[in-house]
């Protein structure tokens, strides 16, 4: 398994720390928004946090703990056209998508859990062959993360080898300082290039301390992974999945879940093939044409979800399939609470 390095990381010596005054943030944002697409979080009229393309700076929020949906949409869109086709009497003419027209996007205000997810997604999409759609989109993003100065009871990044100020996947990381200004940590060539466009905004570090949220460690993920290899038939699965209603919410809001369905849609002689998000929690996900379904009941599907993230992925992709963002738990209508279940698995 080969992970081609997409981001040219600066060595520790070269990683630069600068500071950004509160007023400079707006100037930086507007500079970026004027020349390219910027994907930033806003609070909508019904109090949801959503990422939008090029919102006004005054609408961008810095106070969110998590957005409702993750930002995987920029590299793994909820609908992605794969190719177009036209059927004539003799043949099907395929028209490929020109991936070069995918625009550059700057991600703004992404928390460290979400930025760490990109690498995990790459371990899936570029596992044995390189997924061109995903890879092209990944090349085109610049990630400006915002480290977490707030957390809540659903967060558990520290239990999955991450932290509220982890720099994994970031090109530049902004952190709130005690005096209200921001620290900017520039981590990659891309980040450097961006800074060089507006160097006056980035001043010498002020020495102020970062405001970083505390996230309690809830479980030892290594112990969970090791325990999982021996509990496939354990009654734990049935007991703890009875209330699951099999909705796709957890998989769809998760920054790391990458299951998709492929569909063809035609209108007369023309059509297109596209892929769209799917979930292993759906009852028909593993239904065979013969009518046999190896995961017929919810406990088997719930087990699959946890096994995939905490046992199969560490084993095959060398990556933990979870970043501890807590979206699954906060979106779950029946409070399945993944962290609580993992804590129980640690002690099983």
């Amino acid at each position: 398994m080969n992970l081609t390095i997409k981001k040219i990381l600066l060595s520790d010596m070269e990683t630069t720390i600068k500071s950004l005054r509160k007023q400079s943030l707006e100037k930086l944002y507007n500079h970026l928004a004027s020349s390219q697409k910027i994907y930033a979080p806003i609070v909508t009229s019904d109090k949801q946090v959503e990422f939008r393309y090029n919102p006004e700076f005054r609408d961008v929020t810095f106070e969110h703990i998590r957005s409702t949906l993750s930002v995987k949409n920029v590299v793994f869109p909820k609908i992605e056209n794969l190719f177009y086709f036209t059927n004539t009497k003799e043949e099907s003419i395929i028209k490929d998508i020109d991936l070069n027209i995918i625009p550059e996007v700057v991600l703004w205000g992404v928390h460290p859990c979400d930025s760490a997810a990109f690498d995990i997604l790459r371990s899936i999409f570029c596992w044995d062959i390189k997924d061109e759609f995903f890879s092209k989109r990944l090349e085109k993003i610049t990630v400006i993360t915002l480290s977490c100065h707030k957390s809540d009871e659903f967060c558990f990044c520290t239990s999955v080898n991450l932290s509220p100020d982890s720099v994994k996947g970031s090109d530049i990381q902004l952190s709130l300082l005690q005096n209200g200004d921001y620290q900017a940590e520039i981590l990659t060539e891309k980040g450097n290039e961006l800074v060089s466009q507006v160097p006056d905004l980035f001043e010498q570090p002020s020495g102020e301390k970062k405001v970083i949220a505390g996230v309690k460690n809830k479980f030892d993920n290594k112990k969970v992974t090791s325990n999982l290899s021996g509990v496939f038939e354990h009654p734990f699965w049935i007991r703890n999945s009875l209330r699951c209603i099999g909705c796709g919410a957890c998989a769809f809001v998760c920054p790391v879940c990458a299951c998709f369905d492929i569909q063809d849609e035609t209108k007369g002689k023309d059509g297109r093939r596209y892929r769209c998000w799917d979930s292993c929690g759906f009852s028909l996900f593993t239904l065979h044409t013969s009518g046999h379904n190896p995961r017929q009941i919810q406990s088997q599907r719930w087990r699959q979800r946890i096994m995939h993230k905490f046992s199969y992925m560490p084993d095959r992709n060398n990556a933990l399939g979870c970043v501890g963002c807590g979206r699954c738990s906060s979106s779950c209508p029946v409070d399945m609470n993944l962290a609580e279940q993992l804590e129980a698995l640690q002690n099983i």
């Binding site: 920029v74 869109p77 609908i79 056209n81 177009y84 998508i97 027209i101």
Partner: protein, 150 residues
């Protein structure tokens, strides 16, 4: 707007309205040619999604027509259809889909003149309302990340 020719799709039942439309023709009654007729065994067979698909595929107006109550070839198909339409119209209205663009009628096999009237009135009304652009714009709206190969 003056050269806008409405596209109207008519979902009709075979035994009454389709036969009635035949009679209109054999009686040499002239009526608007904007209508494309789709023949069903019965109005009870007409799925409500078909109407939405007609709008999505370019129809500006729709006519749904069948046998008069108590005259259904299959006894009760049109009664089921009536109930379905009552509820469907309320849902569509609630969602802001233009019900003025859909005409529902009972046209029997003997009512050749009525069919012509229904078609002409519908086409005239749609001509005034204009093309159903807002619906088609919604259908064609692309999700931000979709990349189109122009």
């Amino acid at each position: 707007m003056s050269d806008f020719e409405p596209k109207v799709v008519a979902f009709v039942c075979n035994w009454c309205t389709y036969a009635g439309a035949d009679l209109t023709g054999t009686s040499r009654i002239k009526y608007s040619s904007n209508v494309k007729i789709i023949r069903f065994p019965c109005t009870g067979r007409i799925d409500f999604m078909l109407l939405l698909k007609a709008f999505a595929n370019g129809a500006d107006g729709i006519i749904v027509s069948g046998c008069h109550p108590n005259d259904c070839h299959y006894t009760s198909g049109n009664f089921h259809a009536k109930r379905r339409w009552i509820i469907f119209r309320e849902l569509m209205d609630f969602m802001g889909i233009d019900m003025k663009r859909i005409t529902f009628s009972w046209v029997s096999a003997a009512e050749g003149a009525k069919w012509a009237e229904v078609v002409n009135n519908t086409v005239m009304r749609i001509r005034e309302l204009g093309p159903y652009k807002s619906y088609r714009d919604m259908v064609n709206a692309k999700v931000e990340e979709e990349v189109r190969n122009e």
